[in-house]
């Protein structure tokens, strides 16, 4: 298959960033009289999830400003650099990477071909700040921990003790998220058990379904389909058993088929929209990082779709505690996640 | 033999089963068939004779709808028919026993036999048919065995059965006897005779062997360069006549006549050859048959044993060939000659025993060792192990001695051509150019290419395996002269052949191989049909 199966949700966070520079003439950085935003996404930009939300965010904002957006999904990680160069040759004013797997495109920002462009990069720890890019960071563990916590609350209400986490490749970040999810649940139900299944492919719906099925047959009552294209199929399966389900990144409380109980919103589209707003005002500075704090910023956030006032309150407190660093996420994950 | 059956055929009274009118077929520049007329009557065996590349097979392929004709008319029982596919041919009752590619190894006999007809499969019936036909024509074969487990002879039977089962009105056989023993051939002809006499069929028999044509056919048509040059009742013509028509010139039917099966054995076999020898061995200084000699045999096979897939094909075979003599290795097909040929090609390594050249054993595990040691070979199947069809004449001539045609590190096209030119002239190889792929040469010329290459390394030993198989008279004549000359020049020649007359005519000593052993060696003069027959039968003399 030509597209890269390792494409996955990979949010990010924390650290770094010094006073940077504002490219002259924002938003029309290259001064060709029109504003063009180029978006590269490593994943399926119609996955009704993480990747799509990024592109949608960009388009919504751009159209309101009468800008053009060039979006390109399924960019193979190995192809990132060339894809970015190609964008620059297309005279875009901003290159935006849809997720941090494409970090290998960043060197292009230093190249002459991309001299007249602004760069927006969603980040994870492994990307170091360079003068030519603006990093947008968040800490996935914050959101996932809170998501787990919310799940815990619902399970508690239903008297369940067994949850599941279904994701694709057995990669580092997916393991980390699994741990955070577990920790979150255990903050509510100290002796809850959480089952992790790695299907090996974020887009293989059939396998995702079977994984959920298997977990259900083992008495799992809440499942987090932390997937790409296979999310809906897996969730639909979970719905048949009336399990508690969560969204990987976007707000889908409105959705009826499949139905979600908790929206975990670390919506890159929202971050991006905010950045674009700055860009439009000519205030987007390169060489610095914008951090998105759970409980501080509007996003990321967790939403229990129809939670009781009490549940919502508890969740809100946790989030603000995380925001105010009262709860040390890393420590909690270490303590409860393993 | 079929002499008894060669009774009078009032062929004139028969109505034509098949008429070909002005058939033409050109392969690019090559005109394979040019305005060919041919009439075949039911109840007769019609011989089709011609040199290699005369167009026989092409004509038949046209008849079978395997090759589209450029022009011409085919009348079946007087009705013009457009035979566009093998199916149509089959429907018209035209059946052919092909030489090549017509049985499928992994399938069973019965599956092969019913291949090509239509309707649902009935295994039981198919098997029954195979058996009944087998009985009727004396072609026994087990319908349920896989074809790739059968011997050449048996396969031929299956081919015949397959044809006959369709109850063809015209049955075509393309060189059917090339792999059959004389006995088997005789049987085959008996069957054919019965077919035409009792069953109102017509048979077209393609062959190079004048003897077969003269004994087995009622009518004969000779093709030359794609044209019909001669057509007659077999009884009203003579082998000499046919040979002349075929080649287009007088041919001395001495030794080569023998190869064509004319030497009427056993009466004047030895004398005939005796007469032949001085004519073909021009240099009396080198006696063609050194009676006693002290120096070691140029080629010596010692207790050579070869097993292929468990079966012992060569069984402690011992044989000596001395410089300047031609030893004929005579035997019925399938007694190990082919394997012996492969052995001397360096294609198989013996399980036991040694091959010695000039007294020194050769390490057969090392490729090309035999060649380096001075052994040249004209293999039985040139297409398989003699030439590379898709490489040029020059390349084929050079392939065994690349050292001679290359500079310090790169091959030299110039040298290669020079060598090729020389050899082509010396062995009069007829080819448009030295860069022509060998594939597009006629059989005879392909054979000359092989011989030229092997002789050019001036070997001490020359092995010629079935050297005249599939060759026409002219080519045979040439081949014999060269073999004799080689011997005269002091080369030890081993002639592996299934043609008794050929061996009788050329060899000074005849070794008989049977079931992979040498059952006896005797001077040609002492070789009588009886003694050879016993040896061939495995009765050690």
């Amino acid at each position: 298959a030509s597209n890269d199966a390792t494409a996955t949700p990979q949010p990010s966070g924390s650290a770094g960033g010094s006073a940077g520079t504002v490219p002259a003439g924002q938003p029309d950085v290259n001064g060709d009289g029109k504003v063009v935003i180029g978006v590269l996404s490593p994943g399926d930009i119609n996955d009704k999830g993480y990747y799509q939300s990024f592109v949608d965010g960009a388009e919504a904002f751009a159209s309101s400003k009468g800008w053009t957006v060039i979006k390109r999904g399924n960019v193979a990680v190995t192809d990132a650099l060339n894809a970015a160069r190609a964008l620059c040759q297309q005279k875009v004013d901003m290159v935006a990477l849809g997720a941090s797997e494409l970090k290998d495109a960043i060197p292009a920002s230093e190249e002459a071909v991309c001299a007249k462009t602004a760069w927006y990069v969603p980040s994870s720890y492994n990307i170091e700040q360079t003068p030519k890019i603006v990093l947008s960071k968040d800490d996935p563990n914050q959101s996932i921990l809170a998501a787990g916590y919310a799940t815990g609350l619902l399970m508690q209400a239903r008297g369940d003790t067994k949850a599941g986490f279904v994701t694709g490749a057995e990669a580092d970040f997916s393991k980390a998220s699994a741990a955070a999810f577990k920790a979150g649940i255990r903050m509510v139900l100290p002796n809850a058990t959480v089952v992790n299944t790695f299907t090996g492919d974020f887009n293989d719906s059939a396998k995702a379904k079977e994984a959920v099925q298997a977990q259900m047959s083992q008495g799992v009552k809440a499942v987090y389909p932390y997937l790409g294209g296979a999310t809906d199929a897996a969730t639909a399966q979970a719905n048949t058993g009336n399990l508690i389900t969560l969204t990987p990144g976007t707000d889908r409380c409105a959705s009826t088929s499949p139905k979600f109980d908790i929206s975990v919103i670390f919506d890159p589209g929202q971050y991006f929209a905010a950045a674009l707003q700055l860009f439009a005002d000519g205030k987007l500075t390169m060489g610095v990082a914008k951090e998105w704090q759970l409980g501080v910023d509007q996003y990321p956030t967790i939403k229990i779709c129809n939670g009781t006032a009490e549940q919502n309150a508890k969740l809100a407190t946790l989030m603000s505690d995380i925001g105010s660093k009262k709860v040390d996420v890393a420590a909690e994950v270490k303590r409860l996640g393993s | 033999m079929t002499l008894t059956e060669r009774t009078e055929q009032p062929a004139g009274t028969r109505r034509p089963a098949l008429r070909l009118r002005g058939i033409r077929k050109a392969y690019g520049p090559v005109v394979a068939c040019d305005a060919v007329d041919l009439t075949v009557h039911t109840g007769e065996i019609h011989g089709l004779l011609g040199e290699n590349g005369a167009g026989k097979s092409t004509l038949m392929k046209i008849l079978l709808g395997l090759v589209p004709r450029d022009d011409g008319l085919i009348l079946h029982h007087g009705r013009p028919v457009a035979i566009a596919s093998p199916h149509e041919a089959m429907a018209l009752g035209l059946g052919m026993v092909h030489q090549h590619f017509s049985l499928i190894g992994p399938l069973t006999v019965w599956e092969n036999v019913i291949l090509g007809d239509s309707g649902r499969i009935d295994r039981a019936e198919a098997c029954a048919q195979v058996e009944t036909i087998g009985k009727r024509y004396g072609l026994p074969v087990d319908p349920t065995t896989r074809v790739d487990r059968l011997s050449a002879g048996e396969r031929q039977r299956v081919e015949l059965i397959k044809c006959l089962r369709r109850d063809p009105s015209v049955l075509i056989l393309d060189e059917p006897t090339s792999v059959l023993t004389q006995a088997e051939s005789a049987e085959l002809f008996t069957v054919l005779r019965r077919l035409v006499q009792t069953e109102e069929r017509a048979v077209i028999l393609i062959s190079h062997k004048l003897a077969e044509i003269t004994t087995a056919t009622d009518r004969v048509t000779v093709l030359r360069r794609g044209r019909v040059v001669f057509e007659a009742r077999t009884r009203q013509t003579s082998p000499q006549e046919l040979a002349r028509q075929m080649v287009g010139r007088e041919v001395s039917l001495r030794a080569e006549g023998a190869a064509l099966g004319l030497g009427a054995l056993p009466v004047d076999g030895p004398e005939g050859t005796a007469a032949a020898e001085p004519a073909t061995a021009p240099d009396p200084a080198v006696p063609a048959t050194p009676t006693t000699t002290s120096e070691p045999a140029a080629l010596r096979l010692r207790d050579v044993t070869v097993t292929v897939g468990g079966i012992t094909v060569l069984d402690q075979l011992n044989l000596d060939v001395r410089a300047g003599e031609i030893v004929g290795l005579y035997g019925v097909e399938g007694n190990g000659q082919a394997t012996l040929g492969d052995l001397l090609c360096g294609l198989v390594v013996p399980a036991a025993g040694t091959v010695e050249l000039a007294g020194a054993p050769v390490d057969l595990t090392r490729p090309g060792a035999l060649h380096r040691a001075g052994l040249g070979i004209v293999p039985e199947d040139r297409h398989r192990s003699g030439v590379v069809l898709d490489m040029s004449v020059a390349e084929n001539l050079a392939m065994k001695s690349l050292g001679d045609v290359s500079g310090r590190m790169l091959l030299s096209r110039r040298k290669m051509h020079a060598v090729a030119q020389r050899l082509a002239a010396e062995f009069n190889i007829v080819t448009p150019s030295m860069d022509t792929p060998v594939r597009s040469l006629s059989g005879g010329n392909q054979q000359r290419v092989v011989l030229a290459r092997e002789m050019s390394a001036n070997p001490a030993v020359l092995v010629a395996a079935q050297p005249t198989r599939g060759l026409d008279v002219g080519a045979i004549e040439d081949m014999y002269q060269r073999l004799n000359r080689a011997a005269a020049d002091g080369v030890a020649v081993l002639l592996i052949s299934t043609e008794l007359e050929e061996v009788m005519a050329l060899a000074s000593r005849i070794a008989v191989i049977s079931a992979g052993r040498i059952t006896g060696v005797l001077p040609t003069r002492e070789a009588t049909a009886e003694r050879l027959g016993m040896l061939v039968g495995g009765v050690t003399g």
Partner: protein, 304 residues
């Protein structure tokens, strides 16, 4: 949860995962017996999966979708057949190109269209389904699953007993000879590819409207190649090929279910397992393991 229940769930899941393979494998088996190593089967399955969902949400009937899948498979078979067995373009090139085309087109089409989920009805065979352990696994399923019960014997009969099949085998074993005996070699191969297309189509469609109920980009995720591995593993015999499919399906089911049972194992190894197995069987049982002699060889009248 009792052991037997676990076994029965794994079994059931294994069968669900095997079925798409099994359908396609019958097709690939037949195509390869006729001498085509058909790598466009991946494209056939993917294209059919898409078509089935698209049609289903257009007509509102999953069953019609299934049909559409088969049809699209057939079409791809026709295209491949004509390109490689009429125009005589190297069959591997054709396969690669078709796979690229289908992946590209389907991926694109879902970006511009909105499909709702559709799934064919679940049926169970009354008494049998109550058999302990295997009952649930074998006798309950989406109705097309039971088509396999007809398709396998049919395929076997076609290949081993029908005249058509006899000719297919002849073509696959020795195209030249088959031609001389009056069999239309390339025509047979084209027909074989069509049948392969229909079955691969069914497989892909079953995956979409049978198991998943929706389509997502590249959802077959290499199942086509898995099928090829199964045929090789099966030594070009139908029975063993199906055993291969079942094995591969079960292996996946295990991989997905075991974590839930508290067992974890190396996923990479389990993902390569099929190909490794195929290779090993070819190595170990080389003797019985003969591919059709003219597998992958183009036929051209006259070539010796």
């Amino acid at each position: 949860m009792s052991m037997s229940d676990n076994i029965s769930t794994i079994l059931a899941s294994g069968i669900r995962l095997s079925l798409p393979l099994a359908f396609a494998a019958c097709g690939e088996y037949l195509a390869e017996r006729a001498g085509t190593l058909n790598i466009s089967i991946e494209g056939m399955m993917l294209g059919a999966a898409f078509a089935s969902i698209a049609t289903a949400s257009m007509t509102g009937s999953a069953s019609v979708g299934l049909l559409a899948g088969a049809v699209v498979g057939l079409l791809i078979g026709v295209v491949h057949g004509n390109l490689s067995h009429r125009i005589e373009i190297n069959t591997f090139v054709v396969g690669l190109v078709i796979n690229a085309l289908v992946l590209g087109l389907t991926s694109y089409l879902i970006t511009i269209s909105e499909f709702d989920t559709h799934q064919v009805a679940q049926v169970g065979i009354p008494v049998l389904r109550d058999i302990p352990i295997v009952g649930e696994a074998l006798f309950v399923g989406r109705w097309p699953a039971f088509l396999i019960l007809a398709i396998v014997p049919l395929t076997w009969w076609l290949v081993e007993r029908s005249r058509w099949g006899l000719e297919l085998r002849a073509v696959g074993e020795n195209a030249q000879a088959a031609d001389v005996t009056g069999i239309k070699v390339n025509k047979r191969r084209r027909q074989a590819l069509m049948w392969c297309g229909v079955l691969a189509g069914l497989g892909g469609a079953y995956l979409a409207v049978g198991e998943v109920g929706s389509f997502n980009q590249n959802m077959t995720a290499g199942r086509g190649y898995l099928v090829i591995a199964a045929v090789i593993f099966g030594a070009w015999r139908l029975k063993r090929t199906l055993v291969g499919c079942a094995l591969f399906g079960l292996a996946d089911a295990m991989r997905l279910a075991l974590p839930a049972l508290g067992v974890t194992l190396n996923s990479q190894l389990l993902i390569v397992a099929p190909y490794l197995l195929a290779l090993l069987t070819m190595l170990l049982f080389a003797a019985q393991h003969r591919e059709p002699r003219s597998l992958g060889q183009p036929f051209e009248r006259g070539t010796a």
